[in-house]
């Protein structure tokens, strides 16, 4: 047996210029950033304040940062696919088929698992404990483990760019194609191990947030007083807890087939490939609701704040959220109506899929009625929400078309389907992520993003999306199947050229977003949010300083209604001064930093890499390392650090002073009724 398993110099694709150049550029960037960090002496700061931090706000920011970087990676894949298809009419284009297959697989994998998921989980991390009025999540150190395991998965996927190759089977590895017989290289193994590792991280997140939302809330915060974002986060994390074990098992069974010659999904030995479709979609369909539900929560917060009104139909919104949570587990078969389950089964799942449009429609109407009669401020966050409402209704209706089994037989596997899910995921999930990004950025960093560039980014994304994906619907109806490396149908060409223009508009949008971030950071002095409440918000997260102190709340707030901060402000405005008398500040115990997450993820990368290349001694080493890390953590004697009462009082008095000033401004601007 070779000491390095299957790993050799042949794993590096020296003969393919494209991945080599791309890998080289990425490597250079990474080295440059690391060198810059090291030369500037930022390493101790990064280690102390970020890498080992167990503060939910810091972890949330790191999740979002990971998501933004992965968005760039996934988007480069998108540009390559769109340009390839624009060129490859009666021609081979510039991407060989094996490379093109890796690109569409990596694009889907990265965008779902390492962009959309981290973005949503990042926003939840940042906001949920603040909205619940508590000091941290239930298990802060495990939270850090979750993040670093997600980052470990992302690292493995990106390693495949230069060491070996990535999966060629699409974003879900359907057998028998993904079996060893037809995918003998390590591509599918990279996919499976990366997703298994990050999946454990996501499962821990789910457990952490369900426990946090159900067991850690400020006094007086009944379920019917929780902000809508917390409700959607609860639904989403319940789905994570219920669905991710299924993903873990489906991929583990595939791995057993590939590594140990089992017969779960093989053609021989009684294996059943169709069982994989059932298992993976029993996870996969709840997964899309895991992504969209928190986005619905963001829209609820944004629409209510920028309309200056409480959310319309709060209780119906809660019921709709939980209905979606439940029904999302009863529709998975609509992903393979064509598999031949029979008319009865298809009809059941078709109807269930259409029913899910009902609670979604309730939500749309609730947002519209929230705006109705309100004083709508068209900020960037609000524009993302409006763009979502217009586009998502269309995406939802094409979804109902696909839910009709007879129509699905025509549309299945065509670009119509691809256009549908890009429609709901980009204008639903991604727009929600961007809305949350502009809305809560000041809370995380203490300064507001440039609104003008933010609005530009929105319009470019909105127009770019429709130019890129409206042709997809047409192409699907014209019979174009997905994942074509080249084609010879003349009628498709113009639409694919239009789509390529669309992707360039989105490129412009992303450049504007990068510019927005750079400009905002450089001019942050002039855009400071001193009040902690830049949007005249309604929920508790706006009642504390921006960025919040490590302990969030010097004294846990007492919640008396659905919009505690709005209520607090109104009472203060009426009285002309802050209503809560200064409390007696005490010392606060917060969990200490821990390198457990980072070290554990290091060993996870080692183990994953060793498993992919079948370096068995290194697998053992990685597992022992991970175990030792946890024992080391269990052995610690001091769990908490104490923030002294003086420090708490100093920070909180500054917050109260800023708030009194803000109150004066507000009193001038908004005459009390």
């Amino acid at each position: 047996m070779h000491l390095l398993g299957q790993l050799s110099w042949q794993a590096i694709p020296f003969d393919e210029p494209l991945p080599m150049i791309a890998g080289g550029v990425v490597l250079l960037c990474v080295v440059a950033v690391l060198l810059w960090v090291w030369l500037k002496g930022y390493v101790p700061y990064l280690w102390r304040e970020w890498i080992t931090s167990v503060d939910h706000k810091r972890i949330g920011v790191m999740y979002c940062a990971l998501a933004l970087v992965m968005l760039l990676r996934g988007f480069i894949d998108a540009i390559m696919m769109r340009t390839q298809q624009a060129m490859a009419f009666h021609a081979a284009g510039y991407l060989p088929a094996s490379h093109f297959d890796q690109i569409f697989s990596a694009h889907g994998t990265i965008m779902i698992f390492f962009m959309a998921m981290p973005f949503m989980i990042g926003l939840m991390n940042l906001v949920v404990p603040l909205q619940l009025g508590v000091r941290d999540v239930a298990f802060p150190t495990l939270n850090s483990v979750s993040f670093w395991l997600t980052a470990a998965g992302a690292l493995l996927v990106n390693l495949s760019l230069v060491i070996g190759s990535f999966s060629r089977t699409g974003w879900l590895p359907y057998p028998p194609l993904s079996e060893l017989t037809y995918s003998p290289d390590v591509g599918v193994d990279y996919y499976c191990w990366a997703i298994e590792i990050s999946g454990i991280g996501t499962l821990i997140t789910g457990i952490n947030f369900v426990t946090t939302i159900l067991k850690l809330r400020a006094p007086g915060m009944h379920y019917t007083r929780m902000p809508m974002f917390c409700w959607t986060a609860l639904a989403s994390n319940l789905l994570i807890v219920a669905a991710f074990p299924i993903l873990t098992v489906s991929l583990a069974l595939l791995l057993l087939d590939r590594y140990a010659g089992f017969h779960f999904f093989t053609n021989l030995g009684g294996g059943n490939a169709m069982m994989f479709m059932n298992l993976i979609w029993a996870w996969g369909h709840p997964e899309v609701y895991i992504l969209i539900l928190p986005a619905f929560g963001v829209y609820s917060e944004v629409v209510s704040t920028f309309s200056g009104k409480p959310l319309f139909g709060y209780r119906s919104m809660v019921i709709a959220t939980m209905a979606i949570c439940l029904i999302s587990f009863m529709v998975w078969l609509h992903h393979f109506f064509t598999m031949g389950a029979g008319a009865d089964v298809n009809a059941f799942f078709g109807i269930a899929s259409m029913i899910i449009a009902v609670p979604t429609g309730v939500k749309i109407f609730n947002w519209l009625f929230t705006m109705y009669g309100g004083r709508v401020r068209f900020s960037a966050a609000m524009l993302w929400s409006l763009g979502f409402m217009v586009s998502f209704v269309i995406g939802g209706m094409t979804g109902v078309m696909l839910a009709e089994p007879t129509a699905d037989f025509e549309l299945h596997n065509s670009l119509f389907l691809v256009a549908h899910f890009h429609n709901v995921i980009i204008t639903g999930v991604l727009f929600g992520a961007f809305a949350g990004y502009s809305y809560w950025f000041p809370k995380a960093f203490g300064f507001v993003l440039d609104e003008r560039l933010g609005k530009w980014a929105f319009w470019l994304w909105f127009i770019g999306f429709w130019v890129a994906w409206a042709p997809g619907y047409v192409l699907g109806l014209e019979g174009m199947t997905r994942r074509l490396q080249h084609y010879d149908v003349a009628a498709w060409r113009p639409w694919l050229l239009v789509a390529a223009v669309g992707v360039l508009i989105i490129l412009a949008a992303i450049i504007v977003q990068v510019a927005q971030l750079v400009v905002s950071i450089r001019t942050r002095a002039s855009r400071r949010d001193l009040t902690g409440d830049p949007w005249n918000g309604r929920n508790l997260e706006w009642s504390i300083a921006s960025p919040p102190p490590p302990f969030n709340y010097a004294v846990l707030p007492h919640v008396e209604n659905q919009e505690p901060y709005w209520d607090m402000k109104q009472r203060a405005l009426e009285a002309g001064h802050l209503q809560t008398p200064e409390p007696a500040y005490g010392p606060i115990e917060m969990p200490r930093n821990s390198a457990t997450g980072f070290v554990c993820a290091f060993f996870a990368v080692v183990t994953g890499f060793a498993l992919i290349w079948r370096i068995w001694w290194l697998v053992a080493l990685g597992l022992v390392g991970a175990y030792a890390t946890f024992v080391r953590f269990a052995w610690r004697d001091v769990e908490e650090q104490v923030i002294p009462a003086d420090e708490v009082a100093r920070l909180e008095r500054a917050n109260r002073a800023a708030r009194s000033q803000a109150l004066a401004v507000l009193a001038e601007r908004v005459p009390t009724p």
């Binding site: 219920a242 299924i246 489906s250 057993l256 087939d257 140990a260 017969h263 779960f264 009684g270 846990l556």
Partner: protein, 234 residues
């Protein structure tokens, strides 16, 4: 239970000295009055650490049960796909399975004894009962690996048919859980020995007992749905 009150905050006990739990449901009787209030609809403020840890671990067990449910479903789908190989009736030895069951259930009983010893802060009995728990669990693993080895030596290994793949994966996954549990148990014993009955270690022990008992429940499922039903499968 007088020894177990050392961790309770002053004033947590009513006049009589014994903690009161009127419903006798859902709370250990050393829960403080404040704790009982928090475990309701949760509007009384953040729950104390012990409840948060236990609750979180229950959620984990829920996810683990779904993991096993997926494996059970897989087994149910593939149980008939023997690829011309042997079926359950020819392979399973119910006597061996019965012995495994007895070992595992008594292991759980010993684990329950360990909880009592921990509640009384008795280090000796804690270690003794945990050792018994571990030995019985290890005995279970010995019997199980013996069964696996016999099947493989008869040419009925997991690569032979889809039925056997599913059988070895479902039962083996439970075995892996027991193995991980033993590793955890050893770590728990070392922690009690090195650090004593610290609060966070008792929280961890609470989680361990939940885990160990949950594995019993899974095993009852395997015993009934794989081995017993296997006897009557064609």
């Amino acid at each position: 239970m007088s020894t177990s009150t050392d961790a309770l905050p002053p004033g947590a006990l009513p006049q009589g000295g014994r903690p009161v739990d009127p419903s006798h449901l859902g709370h250990r009787n050393d829960a403080t009055a404040a704790e009982r209030e928090y475990t309701g609809a949760g509007a009384g403020g953040p729950a104390p650490k012990r409840i948060v840890v236990g609750y979180g671990f229950w959620i984990f067990i829920l996810s683990d049960v779904i993991l096993f449910a997926t494996l059970f479903a897989t087994y149910a789908v593939l149980a008939g796909n023997r690829a011309g190989g042997p079926g359950p009736h020819a392979l399973f030895d119910l006597r061996n399975t019965a012995e495994e069951t007895v070992l595992l259930l008594f292991s759980s009983f010993a684990c329950g004894m360990a909880s009592l010893a921990v509640a009384r802060r008795n280090l000796l009995w804690t270690q003794v009962t945990l050792l018994i728990t571990g030995l019985l669990g290890a005995g279970f693993l010995v019997l199980e690996s013996g069964e696996f080895a016999r099947m493989v030596s008869r040419g009925a290994g997991p690569t032979h048919s889809a039925f056997l793949s599913a059988f070895f994966t479902l039962v083996g996954c439970h075995g892996l859980h027991v193995t991980a549990g033993l590793l955890w148990l050893g770590t728990m014993m070392a922690q009690f020995w090195a650090k004593g009955f610290r609060q966070n270690i008792r929280h961890r022990f609470l989680c361990f007992t939940l885990f160990w008992h949950a594995l019993d429940i899974i095993w009852v499922g395997i015993f009934s749905l794989v081995y017993l039903i296997g006897e009557v499968l064609p």
